[in-house]
Amino acid sequence: MSVSPALGPAIRRLRANRVVMVCLVSLLVLAIVALLGPFLTPHRYMDTDFGARFLAPTFSDWHLFGTDELGRDLFSRTLLGVQVTLFVAVIASIVSLGLGVAYGATAGFIGGKTDALMMRAVDALYALPFVFLVILLMVVFERNFMLIFVAIGAINWLDMARIVRGQTMSLKQREFVDAARLMGVSTPRIILRHITPNLVGVVVVYMTLTIPQAILVESFLSFLGLGVQEPQTSLGALVNGGTAYMERAPWLLIVPATVLALVLFCFNFLGDGLRDVADPKQA
């Protein structure tokens, strides 16, 4: 089944957008380097070397990004940070995707009073400072790694729910839904088998926009020391570590800050570009 009849032209438009292609390629390269990283460098991320503390970036002994206050190699730690950050982002996005699609499709398909009530709840939730609730959760439940994914996903589903609802409302007017209903297919099944597959295009586009948001929350928590814990690390935790020694070893701040900014920048541009491609009217 084709995802969308206009997929061919969409891909052509995507190829023509040079910024988006540059971002896509850089993200792919970064992801591959992060995954292969441990095989590329002789240093492991948790190995301390007190004879080599605060080394500036150097080619000798392959400390490409220098070393930190415990003599750990910043290059391998940055690669681990990228890995963790991307991993958290993808899992959190999947959580928010599941919640958002289920909620939005249900509200949009049922319509009427149920829809009004469900969307009113979303409006109300929009106003909440969710990050504070997540921090509370982290305090109470001991900074559990899995919990970070779920918590971040749980705060990012609102946009997805809104978009999916709008899409569902137009989809349910289509003939194939009437046909399914006529044949006696139950509502949950129609939503699952007939509506959801048609949402894939829109959902993929908006997922690229929720990924940077998830990265932002994760690195925010890690920056405050409430997220990923030692000896594991993430880009946010590395930036935080770098701020403590910025006068003595500025590379400890500059390297992870640049990488984090680059990742977020690329994801944002990619998401924006994909949205323009998928919906040329809005651009």
Partner: protein
Amino acid sequence: MLRYALLRILGAIPTLLLVVAIAFMMVHAAPGGPFDSERVLPPEIEDNVNQAYHLDESLPEQFLRYVDGVLHGDLGPSYRFRDYTVTELIAAALPLSMRLGALAMLIAVTAGVSAGIVAALKKNTLVDRLVTGAAMIGISVPVFVIAPLMVLVFAVFLKWLPASWAGGSGPGRLLMPVIALALPQIAYIARLTRASMIGVMNSDFVRTARAQGLSTLSIVCYHALKPAMLPLLSYMGPAIAAVLTGSVVVEEVFGIPGVGQFFIRGALNRDYTLVLGITVFYAALVIALNLVVDLLYGVLDPRIRTR
């Protein structure tokens, strides 16, 4: 309008109650009591402590007591800062945080709206590209990356400004925190203003005004600005929440003794009541400010009241 206002106010109350309930349940689902320590207390003392903090009551009783306290502005005692109530801690730190947040919002709206209007009027020129490009960077780079980098450049390398609150005096020490806090919001507001301004400038009534020979300046000031600001108004709610979140980072980076510092210290020390209290306080603040925004929206846009 009265009906609209009443509905909005009534809608805000359950939202706040919901937050209080979620936050309260989370804290009470925590494994272990607040006074568990290495040292084993004699049972009588433990009973006394539990009684003093009403921990011997059932959960619904404790919850009602807490809600009652919140309604009276009493957020309970801090578990770590002995001899202080959470309300006292917030009250002591609030003025500084308010000044920081209000200044950042002021700068964000002024700079963001100006940049957005200029970009919209010069659409598809170099100026527009510069503004949208800079806005994209501002949106992508989070406060906790901008703030330390600013310290590195302006305090460590150039030595123009103090690196921390304690290391300086006068208005200079507020400059970097306020700008770091405002930058992402400037970017968002500039993008929003640009988009809505372009939409308004293409509408029929602006064309009519142009046909009557009005200058671009007076069209923008007298006709286009108000309708173009409406989408911005609805962004104010999320913006306020973002500035509150950002102020936690900024206070941490610059060592500013505000509410955010207490929040982080409370979170790292597992001071449950303090974290719970500040969460409830921030939620109430955000909900109240959203309510104000909603009511303003109703005043400015008559269409929304009749829905």
